[in-house]
């Protein structure tokens, strides 16, 4: 009898321990749900308030003192041009730096410093990049409060993202590919250019898209360099009718971007402007969601398709 009693006690003990498994799994699901619910609330709230405001005029109008006529034309044009500038600087620099660190870098203290530095840069608050840009690009180099300054700032900001993505993509290429190319007499650069970069392209692309999605929503550093909030004109067009057809005047033009326009509307007391803010926010969220979704999709495809 005593034996059976012990057995029961042990069974009860096991059951009570297993109950904790169930409790924790439930807590875990609840924690996840808090994230999911917040995101849903944010998205739905913005959609309800903002979507009725979205029409063709909203995208083709300049900001205005009257909320009903205001639009985001200068904001989305500004965002597009700033993103182009950012990509122009961040992608080549980031890919080159990632290639160097994975394929060329010797193991010495210089490489160590560069690596530690990249890790630390990822933790620097974005507003500090804004201060760097204000002191360096705007005043020291004399670029002014222009699209060029903003593009350079955001390029520096997303550089660690691009570098890390490039390194991971390059590292996942098997050594045999490199050895095969070297065996045929290719130089190091030929291996990089003809093999490493093409094979790591989807991975790099994912990193670039995630970086750009982050850059498009960044507000603080661009406010810090002193971008204006009320811009009722467009930067000079990049294409011209007369030769040389391409003009870079827009680089030095004052500008505004989507998040700044939204911030401006959010900080006004009138309810009508808050509706505009919701509409602009909805567009912004859709844009970042689309970019992140694309990155996730590419990664998913990549994982399925590539088998070395």
């Amino acid at each position: 009898m005593a034996y059976a009693k012990d057995l029961d006690e042990i069974r009860a003990l096991i059951a009570s321990h297993k109950r904790w498994d169930l409790v924790f799994a439930t807590v875990g699901v609840i924690a996840l749900m808090i994230g999911v619910l917040t995101f849903t609330a944010l998205f739905v709230d913005m959609a309800i308030k903002g979507v009725p405001r979205l029409d063709w005029d909203f995208f083709t109008s300049f900001p205005s003192r009257r909320a009903g006529q205001a639009g985001i034309l200068s904001a989305w044009v500004g965002s597009t041009l700033v993103m182009l500038t950012t990509a122009f600087f961040a992608v080549p620099l980031g890919v080159a730096a990632g290639l160097y660190l994975e394929e060329y870098a010797p193991k010495n203290w210089v490489t160590d410093i560069i690596e530690i530095n990249i890790t630390n840069l990822a933790g620097v608050p974005s507003i500090v990049y804004g201060l760097l840009a204000l002191g360096l690009f705007v005043y020291q180099f004399g670029f002014g409060q222009s699209i060029l300054s903003a593009g350079l700032t955001l390029a520096l900001l997303i550089l660690p993202v691009v570098i890390v993505a490039t390194r991971e993509a390059v590292r996942s290429i098997p050594q045999g590919i490199r050895e095969g190319a070297y065996a045929l007499g290719a130089t190091q650069w030929q291996v990089c250019k003809d093999h490493i970069v093409p094979y790591s392209f989807p991975g790099i692309l994912t990193g670039v898209i995630i970086g750009m999605a982050r850059a498009i929503g960044e507000t603080a550093p661009i406010i810090t360099i002193g971008a204006l909030t009320f811009i009722a004109f467009l930067p000079p067009a990049p294409l011209k009718a007369e030769p040389p057809f391409i003009s870079f005047e827009w680089l030095t033009s004052p500008f505004t971007v989507m998040p700044i326009q939204m911030f401006n509307w959010t900080s006004r007391p009138e309810a009508a402007f808050l509706v505009n803010a919701a509409a602009a926010g909805f567009v912004l969220v859709l844009m970042t969601l689309a970019m992140n979704g694309l990155a996730i999709y590419i990664r998913f495809r990549l994982r399925k398709k590539i088998k070395w």
Partner: protein, 316 residues
């Protein structure tokens, strides 16, 4: 393309040896040049750090010739743009620390629980859906979170606590915490998944349940990685700008009460940058002094985290 001249070479007569040598030299030179260019690209990140330190220190030095460091650290008022100017960074620091505290008391427990759940409990399909979703949560622009904190969370909290002012640290901090969850959870989860399976198997073999294995074997073994996740979360919280600038108000206020409005270091920088301050004025320099304080603060946390990681590092 450069493979072609090499091929052409081999078809030439031996008399062209000189030309071949020249070509090989040109090739080596080109390789060197390319390597240097790539090296310079990698150095850009170092230049960025040097640039940040240079700009912050340069402007702050000018600032501290006009305001003593003692006043900066001990004054209890922050009114840099008034005639009777006071520069007590404590006032802004209290806002930054209070909002970070609120955010982290949400992000760290929830982020850790989610990480443990995803790494040790969740079935494969749940993880496959949850991870990209969390990434999306971290990808939403902070200005959108600011809008959400001001116009959704604050009214919600006001229903529970009617005396809550329209601008307050609490709502901003809560939303900030939810924004930081993905950063904490994804890095912690990576650390936990890097724990060798044999440790788990050993634990199960001793009759431990999942929960016991997770909390007593996996978490301690992954602690150094989890610590880095926390440090990154703290850095994000301290440096977060737009949520606070929108939802916590821009009024300097020496308080540790999350129910009050208060400006943070970052919100102050935004406020000054929105105005039209002449380059070189004291007001212009204050934002660099504030930025330097922010950098020192994140540096202190990072060094603390580094020490913590060293202390708890487990090698397999």
């Amino acid at each position: 393309m450069s493979a072609v001249p090499g091929l052409a070479c081999s078809s030439m007569s031996p008399l062209d040896a000189g030309a071949r040598l020249k070509q090989r030299r040109a090739r080596i030179l080109r390789e060197r040049a390319i390597e240097s260019v790539l090296f310079l690209a990698a150095l850009v990140s170092v230049f960025t750090t040097v640039g940040i330190v240079y700009v912050l220190v340069k402007e702050s030095v000018v600032f501290f010739t006009q305001v003593s460091l003692w006043d900066f650290l001990t004054d209890t008022q922050w009114t840099p743009l008034f005639d009777d100017a006071h520069f007590g960074i404590m006032v802004l620091l209290s806002g930054t620390l209070t909002s970070s505290f609120v955010a982290l008391s949400i992000a760290i427990p929830l982020g850790t629980i989610i990480a443990i759940y995803l790494s040790e409990f969740a079935p494969f399909s749940v993880r496959e859906i949850a991870k990209p979703f969390l990434e999306l949560l971290g990808g939403v622009p902070t200005i959108v979170y600011g809008y959400f904190a001001l116009l959704f969370v604050t009214p919600l909290l006001q229903k529970i606590y009617p005396g809550l002012p329209g601008f307050n640290i609490l709502a901003a901090g809560i939303v900030m915490g939810i924004m930081i969850i993905p950063y904490v959870s994804s890095i912690s989860e990576d650390a936990m998944r890097a724990v060798p399976m044999s440790l788990r198997e050993g634990s199960y073999a001793m009759g431990a349940t999942r929960y016991q294995t997770a909390t007593r074997v996996v978490v301690p073994a992954a602690f150094s990685g989890i610590a880095s996740a926390y440090i990154l979360g703290i850095s994000r919280a301290v440096g977060e700008t737009m949520i606070l600038a929108v939802a916590a108000g821009m009024q300097p206020n020496l308080t540790f009460n999350p129910l009050e409005p208060a400006a943070t270091i970052t919100a102050f920088i935004v406020q000054v940058a929105l105005g039209d301050l002449p380059h070189g004025s004291v007001g212009y320099q204050t934002i660099f002094a504030a930025g330097l304080t922010l950098m020192v603060l994140t540096l202190v946390f990072n060094i603390g985290g580094h020490v913590l990681r060293r202390r708890f590092r487990e090698a397999y």
